[in-house]
């Protein structure tokens, strides 16, 4: 007959081993999650600096450029930090594009005491993700005035999560950007390898999602057609209103 003492001892060892193993698996899970979160965070920080720099220092935006006709074809010459006063207008609000980021810029001519703004987003519906300020020289004809450019960045983005019940796919959209925004959602069945659109019936997964406030979510569902051959995925693309050149893509195994 087994003694109670032996049984309790074994039980304690088992509980200890199970606790250590569970703790380890949880640590691995946490570390994986944290790494992913850090990657997104550092991407956001880097993108703010990059877009802000590009607004001031890219030839298509505020940077002053000259065609150097000594070369054939002519070369474009420019100096970082020298901006063209004639380029400071709302027409430039889309001069550089990067993912879900949009921007406003305030140019202050210190010598003239004049401030001009370029409005890429409405500050009443967006909060600022970050901003950068650059000292510049503003070229006005033959004159160079000391000035400053402050670029504020906001974002329009969403994260989707998916769950499936039979042939119904539930899509939950979280507005992960800093602006209230509507979103266009498009769902298509595609070949998992080539990405080509499946020639058979497609799901009714195209939605125009109304305004979602920042950090809030909205759920909706769509129904998959019956008997889809294996080797196909459901490709879901989410495009924020106003930035048609950017979309976030998900592939769901069906």
């Amino acid at each position: 007959m087994r003694s109670n003492k032996g049984f309790v001892g074994e039980l304690i060892i088992f509980v200890a081993v199970a606790a250590i193993a569970a703790g380890f698996v949880y640590t691995v899970y946490l570390s994986g999650n944290q790494t992913a979160a850090e990657v997104y965070f550092s991407d956001d920080l880097r993108s703010i600096s990059l877009v802000a720099d590009a607004v001031v220092n890219s030839p298509n935006c505020l940077l002053y450029t000259e065609k150097d006709l000594l070369f054939q074809p002519p070369k474009i010459s420019s100096t970082r930090g020298i901006i063209d006063s004639t380029k400071i207008s709302d027409q430039k609000k889309d001069c550089v594009r990067k993912g879900p980021y949009i921007w406003n810029a305030k140019v202050w001519d210190i010598k003239k005491g004049e401030t001009k703004t370029i409005t890429g987003f409405d500050a009443s519906s967006c909060s600022e993700l970050g901003s950068r300020t650059f000292p510049v020289l503003i070229k006005r004809g033959a004159e160079y005035n000391n000035g400053e450019v402050k670029t504020s960045i906001a974002s329009k983005d969403a994260i989707a999560s998916f769950s499936r019940k039979g042939s119904e796919i539930l899509i939950t959209l979280v507005n992960s950007g800093t602006c209230s925004s509507g979103f266009a959602v498009s769902g298509k069945i595609v070949n998992a390898t080539s990405g080509e659109i499946y020639s058979g019936p497609q799901p009714a997964c195209d939605f125009a999602v109304g305004q979602i406030k920042s950090k809030e979510k909205q759920s909706f569902s769509c129904t998959l057609p019956k008997s889809i051959p294996s080797g196909n995925h459901l490709k879901v693309e989410i495009t924020p209103d106003g930035i048609s050149y950017y979309s976030k893509e998900y592939r769901i195994v069906i």
Binding site: E10, F24, A36, D43, L50, R97, P100, E249
Partner: protein
């Protein structure tokens, strides 16, 4: 009294638990390496290529950059978006990156860049006579 049979039994039982613990630990490390790390690798690769494209937008002159193409990675460059896929024993690592570009830039058409074929990717920016920039990516 000294019970050798009981001691052997307890020893074996402890060994089995140790094996169970090592199995769970090994499985966790294996899953982490294959699932999480392949995703991280895909993210890093996509970001590495993407930052190359990002820097093209800041250049006012024609420029060519050489970017490392890490083995096991397959990129798809399609307009302003780069996706990277990394194959692993369990599933696949996947990441996408939206690079910075000028509004009027002519972007690359959909193109697959397989790092199994070459370990370098050449990014370029050129201007036409009207000053419109064209971006390119070749292996």
């Amino acid at each position: 009294m000294f019970n050798r049979r009981g001691q052997v039994g307890e020893g074996l039982s402890f060994l089995l638990k140790l094996l169970l613990f090592m199995f769970i630990t090994g499985a966790a490390v294996y899953v982490f390496n294959n699932v999480a790390l392949s995703d991280i690798r895909a993210q890093n690769s996509a970001r590495n290529l993407g930052t190359g494209f990002d820097s093209l937008a800041l250049s006012s002159s024609e420029i060519t950059l050489e970017i490392n193409c890490p083995s096991g990675v397959r990129f798809v460059v399609d307009g302003p978006k780069i996706t990277a896929r990394v194959t692993s024993e369990i599933g696949e690592g996947f990441a996408s990156y939206s690079y910075m570009h000028e509004q009027n830039a002519i972007l690359p058409q959909k193109k697959i860049l397989d790092c199994g074929l070459s370990n370098k990717i050449e990014l370029s920016k050129s201007y036409d006579a009207a000053g419109v920039p064209t971006l390119g990516a070749v292996q």
